[in-house]
Symmetry: C2
Subunit: 292 residues, 2 copies
């Protein structure tokens, strides 16, 4: 079930992203091309898929919220473009392709990221079947998650901890902001759009935080055990760069155990839900098996 | 009247910006400091003041919308930080102070800009006395104005036309996007919050577009006639950089005439308004006398 539904929704997202890019056709060709280059570079579309699965879980039809899913994918993509810049992580490859600034230059890469972040807010307002109250709530979720106390704040901590050894608690705080907040926004936005009750929203928020943590631990594991071609970037880079990760701060078996426990906690958070939440359960389970 | 009211509202904006920064206290000190450095570097606060004046014009109390005014000032500040980067205009000074990346480095400057743009959307949702419909409308105005068909798109055209001679029509198109769109969003947002009718909104949009054009022409004039200390950056830089401007493409007297005519058109657009629109009229008139 997992793979079929994921693939179907991934296709839905791809299709909608192309449509939204066309709708927003920028007044400048270079900018258009740079935005499209990174936005359509593949990827698992995990955040939109989580958003739709959260809507399912509260009894709505997840497919209906693909527009907001695309908006969050734009925020995710912008963050990758900026993180890859020479003044930050200085990465030359992403998903097996040269990074945005390698193709378009640093200036255009900054601006393509800026434009994608801004476009996300335009696009989420185009979500059909949402009340103005729901739209306001989603804009709030996304802006809080992406901002100085979320994604951007986490990236600053990451930059500042380069070459320094940080402890498990700091590592957790950094990732909670850098990647966790956006998973939380995806899941909470899907729940809000689907009409979640307060109790459902609280349970799904717990699921989201556990999911985000497990995602990061398995990401660190993949950097050691992954296949370079499959993940599209060099493996072992964390160790080479003396980066603190869940693996380097503990050990591979310990990190695996931590990931398993966290996935279990994520699934446990869904106990009040029926089989409408099966896709969310499967998505948590997938984290242990993922190879990219 | 102009100076007193402007000064009073400028103080209101400064105070509110400090409060909003405190409210959003970033989880990282460096980021906080970099955001504050540029946001509190002075400036005329022209966009918030225009927003409040537009609310006045439709019979509301402009002061009430200082929160949304602060949000637009954050968008404006983020754009200055990114435009100043070495990969773009490579400017070392802004308002008489070293630019953000000169103080904090390129990476943090990119992130401080990102955080301010994102925070703007958080802050505008905190506007009191606005309906969810109005909040959605404002988010739409701001995201459209700041995005790939507005400010960011204009900056890309600006980057690409460096060293090239462009004609008056292209220059206008570039500025309409790069600076005009945000003036338009400021004025339209103030009008929407103040409860403008469709006809009022249309008239104020015309005013906004004329204002934006006149602002740019007088900006180009200032680059030739301005005092370096007063404007806080080197004068004559446009000519040195072989930039096409309203002055270099015509002449100083012709640019002055064009500015005067455009200001008159801006004021004419307000003919259906009573003295509630006097502040907007004064603000248009000020463009001809400004020395920074």
């Amino acid at each position: 079930m997992l793979k079929d539904l994921w693939k179907r929704r991934l296709d839905l997202v791809e299709e909608k992203l192309v449509a939204e890019l066309r709708e927003n056709e920028a007044l400048n060709e270079t900018l258009c091309s740079a935005m499209k280059y990174s936005l359509m570079a593949g990827g698992k579309r995990l955040r939109p898929v989580l958003l739709m699965a959260a809507a399912d879980a509260v009894g709505a039809e997840g497919d209906a919220y693909v527009t907001t899913g695309c908006a969050i994918e734009m925020i995710h993509t912008y963050s990758l473009i900026h993180d890859d810049l020479p003044s930050m992580d200085n990465d030359d490859y992403r998903r097996g392709k040269p990074t945005n600034h390698k193709v378009y230059g640093d200036g255009i890469a900054v601006l393509a990221g800026d434009a994608l972040l801004t476009m996300a807010f335009e696009v989420m307002l185009r979500q059909k079947g949402a009340t103005p109250e729901q739209l306001v709530a989603i804009v709030r979720e996304m802006s809080t998650a992406a901002g100085s106390n979320g994604m951007v704040g986490g990236q600053v901590i990451d930059l500042e901890s380069e070459g320094k050894k940080i402890d498990l608690q700091e590592l957790r705080k950094m990732h909670m902001a850098k990647t966790g907040a956006l998973f939380r926004a995806a899941i909470r936005s899907g729940a809000i759009l689907g009409g979640a009750t307060e109790a459902q929203l609280a349970a799904l928020t717990t699921y989201a935080d556990k999911f985000g943590l497990a995602f990061q631990i398995t990401d660190d594991i993949l950097d050691v055990t992954g296949n370079e071609e499959t993940i599209g970037k060099p493996v072992g880079s964390d160790e080479r760069n003396h980066k603190s990760t869940y693996v380097t701060l503990t050990s591979l078996p310990e990190a695996r155990k931590m990931a398993l426990d966290t996935i279990e906690e994520a699934i446990d958070a869904l106990e009040e839900f029926g089989d409408e939440a099966d896709f969310l359960r499967d998505l948590a389970g997938y984290l242990m098996e993922r190879n990219k």
